[in-house]
């Protein structure tokens, strides 16, 4: 019988990368930390997040508050006093760009949270239970899915009206149309995880639906949803800017990059800085989240280790 005990030396075991036994999550984190794209995106996002929480940290380099505007100094170019120039109302563009980060980040984070939680939960249920649960949820999702999101959000916000518009209405309008995409991705990932042998083995042991979903299916279905959630963050930020630009999103006196671009567009030739700087920040922010999503996908994708 000793021959059954001799297989001590594994034939094809990967040499462990770290000293501690590695889970797939920590393997992914290990890969991520070595990705240049991830580092760049993470630094950019970290700066933006700090900017949105304590904007004073950045704007204090010059003495101007974003709300103290001097009409006599409207539409100035770059100068020592106003390093990004001033806008139509004579406000300091630099301060406003810094303060504008908050709305963008908030819209991105909250819309992503709402859509990921709702779409993720419903996708999990649809994929796991199948049958009529799936039929009903998938049909409802399809109805929303058929509406182009930005157009739909524009419509919703137009109905809500300018006087009620603000960050929360924007978050709701964007989320209402975006959760079905998360549902689809989660549902597909759950269905593929559900058919795996280890789920069958757990059922054979007598595991109930809660354990099957929480212990076996969700951890193995989460990767694509995480990737999409990261990328969506950038999409939502861009959509908020577009809606604010069109006048149905964030309203003055709140500060939003989209709103700043809208204000500056008619005087672009006289004062291009007032448009260029918020546009630059917006582009960099969206880019940072897209890059982050890319890096996360690369780290999570080689699932079959």
């Amino acid at each position: 019988m000793s021959d059954t005990l001799t297989e001590q030396k594994p034939k094809s075991v990967k040499p462990p990368k770290q000293k501690k036994p590695a889970s797939l999550w920590s393997d992914a984190w290990y890969d991520l930390r070595r990705s240049k794209v991830f580092i760049i995106a993470a630094v950019m996002i970290a700066v933006l997040v700090v900017m949105s929480i304590i904007p004073g940290l950045f704007s204090s380099v010059n003495a101007f508050d974003p709300t103290t505007c001097d009409l006599t100094k409207a539409r100035q170019g770059v100068s020592a006093a106003h390093i990004f120039g001033t806008d139509n109302q004579g406000c300091d563009t630099y301060s406003r760009v810094i303060y504008g980060a908050r709305i963008s980040i908030m819209v991105g984070v909250f819309s992503t949270l709402v859509t990921t939680l709702i779409g993720g939960l419903l996708g999990l249920l649809a994929g796991f239970y199948g049958r009529w649960t799936d039929t009903i949820l998938s049909r409802v999702a399809e109805i929303f899915f058929a509406i182009p999101s930005t157009l739909g959000a524009l419509l919703i916000l137009a109905l809500v009206g300018r006087e009620n518009a603000g960050i929360w209405t924007v978050v709701v309008a964007l989320s209402v149309l975006a959760w079905p995409m998360v549902l689809r991705i989660m549902r597909a990932a759950v269905m593929s995880a559900k058919s795996q042998d280890y789920v069958l083995a757990a059922r054979a042991l007598g595991a109930g639906p809660g354990r099957l979903m929480g212990r076996h299916i969700l951890p193995n279905a989460l990767a694509p949803v995480i990737v999409v959630a990261t990328m969506n963050m950038g999409v939502f930020i861009a959509a908020e800017a577009a809606l604010s630009f069109l006048g149905v999103g964030i309203q003055s006196p709140d500060i939003s990059w989209g709103l700043m671009i809208a204000d500056a567009r008619n005087r672009f030739l006289q004062a291009p800085e007032a448009l260029l700087f918020p546009a630059l920040f917006l582009s960099l922010t969206v880019l940072a989240f897209v890059m982050l999503g890319d890096a996360v996908r690369d780290a999570l994708d080689p699932k079959l280790r």
């Binding site: 019988m1 021959d3 059954t4 005990l5 001799t6 297989e7 001590q8 594994p10 034939k11 094809s12 075991v13 990967k14 462990p16 036994p21 590695a22 889970s23 797939l24 999550w25 795996q196 042998d197 280890y198 069958l200 083995a201 757990a202 059922r203 054979a204 042991l205 007598g206 595991a207 354990r211 212990r215 076996h216 951890p219 193995n220 699932k303 280790r305």
Partner: protein
């Protein structure tokens, strides 16, 4: 290892038809895949029943039915004389403690995001009364040792083990609840030949140590021969011949069994010379539309008119000592043929 006493598992007329539907909104049933179509047998304590048949003949479906992972279309499964009722939670939970399974693919049967300790310990989390919380880790380490793995590797993840080692982890998980029956669905066919023997030896050792009864599924007779007390040969959802291993290997009476045996590699060179080679024509027909009468008739060289009309029942035939589902059953030793 000698099987004794009353049957521990009684399977009667087990049927599983998967409906074939057409249309997306208005689903219409246009037929059924007859994956398992009337299977009956007994399994006794400590016995190993080998189940053999070509790919697609319904072996895995049979295993899932026995594990109550699929709902049978009809028929019954009794464990220790008690009927298994898929709809009764308490009944099912007790049943699951008594019958467990080892799966074919060691790469997909272990959750990649759980540690080995969590995988083997999960049965205790589900059946909390089997082991108190404080004892579980120790029990898992004992199980690792029983299946020949290092107990210190309890915190490792499946991807850090080889195929053979993973299969041992799967076996340890199956043993955790101390079941009386373990269903092995092609437990070695995904492994290297050199590792296959080790895993089979392990299964045999565990059988004597714990008095386990096995259903051992394989698609070729040579793997089953070593471990089985009795062998059932399946073709298109039905058992066509069943008997003691010596009866099946030395005195096969069904043409399909004879064909399968003629294809088994024989270890000694003398056997190879005397062996008859029967080559089956064509592929097995679709289980959605099996031939009338005898299902094997489209590939049988002995087929007569009656074979298309009357279904041959699985019964003891004149001149044979075990059950065979052929109108013209006749003992014919293919392996030692002269």
């Amino acid at each position: 290892m000698a099987p004794q006493g009353d049957p521990i598992l009684e399977v009667r007329d087990l049927v599983k038809h998967f409906p074939l539907t057409q249309g997306i909104v208005m689903k219409r049933q246009i037929g059924a895949i007859k994956a398992v179509d009337g299977v009956s047998f007994d399994l006794r304590r400590g016995e190993t029943l080998g189940v053999v048949g070509e790919s697609g003949c319904g072996k895995s479906t049979l295993a899932k039915l026995l594990m109550a992972l699929e709902k049978p279309t009809s028929g019954s499964v009794k464990v220790n004389g008690e009927l298994v009722d898929v709809h009764k939670g308490s009944n099912l939970k007790r049943f699951r403690r008594n019958i467990q399974m080892v799966m074919q693919d060691p790469y997909t049967s272990l959750n990649p995001r759980m540690t080995v300790g969590d995988i083997i310990g999960e049965p205790y989390e589900i059946h909390t009364d089997v082991a108190p919380k404080g004892d579980r880790r120790k029990k898992v380490q004992d199980l690792l040792e029983v299946v020949g793995l290092n107990p210190d590797h309890i915190n490792r993840y499946p991807h850090q083990f080889s195929g053979g080692q993973r299969q041992r982890i799967g076996i340890a998980r199956g043993l955790a609840l101390q079941p009386e029956i373990i269903i092995c669905d092609e437990p070695v066919s995904a492994l290297d030949v050199s590792i296959q023997a080790q895993v089979i030896n392990l299964l045999e050792r565990l059988q004597t140590e714990f008095g386990l009864a096995y259903i051992f599924i394989a698609h070729d007779l040579s793997v089953v021969r070593h471990i089985s007390d009795r062998v059932a040969v399946m073709y298109l959802g039905k058992i066509v011949e069943i008997g003691k291993d010596t009866e099946i290997y030395d005195k096969p009476s069904h043409p399909y069994t004879q064909a399968l045996l003629s294809a088994v590699p024989v270890p000694d060179p003398e056997g190879r010379e005397s062996r008859e080679r029967i080559i089956l024509q064509g592929d097995p027909p679709s289980p959605a539309n099996p031939p009338s009468g005898c299902r094997f008739r489209t590939r049988c060289w002995k087929a007569q008119e009656i074979c298309a009309v009357e279904e041959p029942l699985l019964q003891i035939r004149p001149g044979t000592d075990h059950e065979s589902a052929c109108h013209f059953a006749e003992v014919h030793d293919v392996v030692h043929a002269s």
